[in-house]
Symmetry: C2
Subunit: 239 residues, 2 copies
């Protein structure tokens, strides 16, 4: 696969997701949560490109959440956003500092704090969409974890409207496999800059990622079947 | 766990399934598909016991499908049914003989042929329920295979009414894990007699069985969560 192919694969799969799930309407203001990682960087770049030719106009802005968990240096991502003409904001969230005495740090806590700040910022600035960089593998991992740990058939959906305010989370990478995003990031030469949190790297999600590799034997077809099973629920044939 | 405990665990889980899924109504005639294997033997014995005290009367009969795939000797299972006062029938089905030229033998083909004969016999004799010995592990294996191979969230349900005739398949072992049935069969000293087909022993189902062990790390809680996810579908949180 040539370099350009990896980009166009991701671009096409984002396009399919945007259309299938009706993610963008005319004139919408979309806030993209960016971390400097490969996923949200690919997402931001693709939306910057699509902004030029998409059939309805939309606005994008990127928001970086800096935390006391070590994700504070945003110089690289800030430069990329400037390069792609994406307005950029940085917010400080003391994820550790907000822990009450006796509470333990967890991925759940961090994600909740960051999400809350993103949605507060989005609402205060009049954004009606919040675009997040979760891809198909993230969605399948969450599906499996919810089935095994909580007994629920549920995951992070491609589109989810908040109940209490006019903000909808969208996940335009929902149809992209992680390997496709990695290839795209390598093609764009920013894979070496991807920074991700090193808290709990060997946690439940990593285990679940390996589990899905075992389940699917690395087959994209099997992975896409898992994804499809969420839209093909045969209620007569369930317990 | 004492010997009696294994029996009472299975008996109790069958009782919960019979009630939760309303499997038996007053005066119903239930045909039990028996193979001589541990599952259907445990099922037949338990229904024979419950027939004596269950709050509504019901009738049971056992039917053995003999095939040209090697499952022809039914002397042991015939004796057990006589011992437990369960009327017994034997039907010959040439599973291999019915293959058309060029068709390949498969578990799917065999199961379909046997199921068809069971349901024909049941209908011809006025049975309105067909009880099968599938347990929770079978149901979860089918769920996973359907997700991975067919992209469907579907399995063998505890209760399934046929569309075209007044016959309903019930699976009273739906809440029993295989290990619980094995313990019960050992306790009843008939585990050494269990005979199962040796066609395709290393097939997809065996692989899926190991996969579920990996997924759940052998935890009953995780297995029951997988099962529960079929009844806890959060449609807002799916793709």
């Amino acid at each position: 696969m040539g370099m350009k192919d990896a980009e166009s694969t991701v671009s096409k799969l984002i396009e399919v997701a945007l259309r299938r799930y009706a993610m963008i309407e005319r004139g919408e203001k979309i806030l993209i949560g960016v971390s400097g990682g490969k996923d949200s960087t690919c997402l931001a770049r693709d939306l910057a490109v699509k902004r030029r030719w998409w059939e309805v106009p939309f606005e994008i802005e990127a928001c970086f959440i800096a935390s006391d968990l070590g994700q504070a240096d945003d110089s690289w991502v800030r430069e990329r956003m400037a390069e792609w003409d994406i307005p950029y904001a940085r917010i400080e969230v003391p994820v550790l500092g907000r822990l009450k005495p006796g509470e333990k740090m967890s991925c759940y806590w961090c994600a909740t704090q960051r999400r809350t700040e993103l949605s507060l910022y989005a609402r205060s600035k009049g954004f009606n969409k919040l675009a997040l960089g979760h891809h198909m593998d993230d969605i399948l991992e969450t599906l499996l974890m919810n089935m095994l740990k909580k007994g629920e058939f549920a995951t992070m959906p491609p589109v989810m409207a908040y109940d209490n305010y006019p903000l909808t989370v969208i996940r335009p990478l929902a149809l992209c496999e992680e390997r496709q995003i990695i290839a795209c990031a390598e093609s764009l030469r920013f894979s070496s800059h991807t920074c991700t949190c090193d808290f709990n790297v060997e946690g439940e999600r990593k285990k679940t990622k390996r589990l899905i590799e075992t389940m699917t034997n690395g087959s994209s077809h099997a992975k896409r079947n898992l994804f499809k099973s969420m839209r093909t629920i045969k209620s007569r044939y369930l317990a």
